[in-house]
Symmetry: C2
Subunit: 338 residues, 2 copies
């Protein structure tokens, strides 16, 4: 198979980590082919740093480059919707950072579009591609834990003072930043069915960004998930699944883990090979798992990864939507203005 | 001061542990003076085992014994209300096992009665009298954790098959059995003010007993408590408080702890001296803390312990009441029949 030619969209921190991680994969499989930013200079600098042949000062140019095999969208959340649309409409496969969009209807529209166009389209829930998650889901499926009864996840990091969290115009709030991870964990374990009951509280700032949430989900067969996000305080940041026959703990960082603890026994999954440069975010080495899975899917004609399906992406968006409604968070005005 | 003369009401497991624990205290301070059960033979056997001078085959007889200094009520939850009333009306100080009653209005009525009668009246939330809890509350009060932001507590034990849990006529359900502990922990840390928002889900059996719950409380100043009980699965059974400057973990068993972990540092509080006989429940040695506090209060003319006030007992009952309403649990019919 030919190498997959990546077009990197956006030159921020997560794009840097992603490019850094792709470089650790075999060059025969992956090529950092192009990069685009709204600022041509930034794109050129990024291209230089990561030895990327082409750079563009507009996203549309990258979308029209016939050599790009897949677009990786790493821009801020508020423009994921329009960029996904741009690339899909230009016939590109797309891997877009989570949250895919800020509105349920946008996510639904994009999934519909990708399916119509028969393009690979994936929400970049990178956690799912970690060997630790694959093992966790295998054990759950094999019944090792018996009947599942309870999930608890807390994700607390002191980021209340960070602009992307407290500013509404940047799609602020803890739910759409770190809440994605506590919700996706639940969907990974309990499946993509919707809960029977959703109950949420949120601590909102003056702009209406949620700086903390508490979410309780009740699923059929007496399963409960208790989830919380917090940007004021550092928490244990672990995820736990309890069943009638046992439990699994995913220690911090549960969103990018190297370990799971199955009935008290530690199972280790070391990160892949070292990158040339340091990463911005912890365990970003693991972005390589995601990039490798994208190539595997595209090579095999899959339009989504079975490890994070579009159905799950829509469930995630539905959960986010209901929680937002209950706690009084809305991003509608961001899109009405445009 | 003369020794406090205990009247033990009920001869079940918790009364056994309580008598066993009182025996570890100095005889100059505490005397197991009388015991009562509805079955005179059981009372006599209990009296023999614990070398108690008097035994009664009815609670009313014990209530009328002028030598009894304080009644310890350790019977099943469904008759706490009538027994507290009986002893208070007979002028006895009362220490009654939690939950004090199954209905908010019963708890309110009893507190009112005790205040009118100027009698010591205490809900036996034994956790509160453990040195670990006293230290935890001191640290919270001193501001060691900064502004409090989040509490998480899970209490999961496999007792779904135990009669007192699944039978409505016994006051079944996880909330009124182990839920007391997750709620009292929250009140201990966040105080006796009511939360601004209470959201709960419950997994109910055919009789309407909750076998699992998920409770989220939102307090003013952006404080959240996420609490869960489960009788199907064993959980980590720890309690955590997170503030802007630090955190405290109370490891399993958080309801009767020998340790707290303050910003990662373990502080140990070993249990008091060994009893003559083994205990039924884990760490029941710690019931001695509670008994000692009752004597201290009575000797000093206090009508309730500052470590677990009647105001907190009423808050606890109000929280239980609201959660029961939300999840569809009611004990009203138990009292209408009578």
């Amino acid at each position: 198979m030919a190498p997959l030619r990546w077009g990197i969209v956006g030159t921020g921190k997560i794009s840097q980590d992603f490019a850094n991680a792709v470089e650790t994969l075999p060059p025969a499989d992956h090529e950092l082919y192009a990069v685009a930013a709204s600022d041509a200079k930034k794109a050129a600098e990024f291209a230089k740093t990561y030895t990327i042949p082409k750079s563009y000062g507009s996203y549309a140019e990258l979308a029209k480059d016939p050599e790009v095999g897949v677009a990786y969208i790493g821009t801020i959340n508020t423009n994921h919707f329009e960029l996904c649309k741009l690339f899909l409409e230009n016939g590109k496969h797309v891997l877009c950072e989570k949250p895919l969009t800020l509105l349920l209807e946008h996510t639904q529209e994009l999934v519909k579009l990708a399916r119509e166009k028969k393009l690979f389209f994936q929400e970049a829930v990178w956690s799912r591609f970690f060997p630790a998650y694959i093992k966790l889901r295998e054990e759950v499926k094999a019944g090792t834990l018996g009947d599942l009864k309870l999930i608890t996840v807390n994700f607390g990091v002191k980021i209340a003072e960070v602009e992307r969290i407290f500013k509404k115009e940047l799609g602020g709030g803890s739910l759409m930043d770190i809440g994605i991870y506590v919700l996706q964990f639940t969907v990974a374990v309990f499946g993509s069915e919707m809960p029977q009951t959703i109950k949420a509280v949120g601590v909102l700032n003056e702009e209406g960004c949620d700086l903390a949430t508490g979410i309780t989900l009740q699923y059929k067969d007496g399963r409960i998930a208790q989830l919380t996000t917090n940007t004021f305080t550092e928490t244990t940041c672990d995820a736990n699944v309890f069943g009638t026959k046992g439990s699994i703990k995913v220690p911090k960082p549960f969103w990018a883990p190297e370990e799971i603890i199955l009935n008290g026994e530690s199972l280790k999954f070391p990160l892949p090979g070292k990158a040339k440069r340091p990463f911005v975010y912890g365990n970003s080495e693991g972005l390589a798992y995601e990039a490798a899975e994208v190539k595997r899917c595209i090579d095999n004609g899959l339009l989504e990864s079975p490890l994070m399906t579009q159905e799950e992406t829509i469930t995630l968006a539905r959960l986010e939507d209901e929680v937002k409604k209950q706690i009084g968070v809305s991003y509608d005005e961001l899109y009405k203005k445009k």
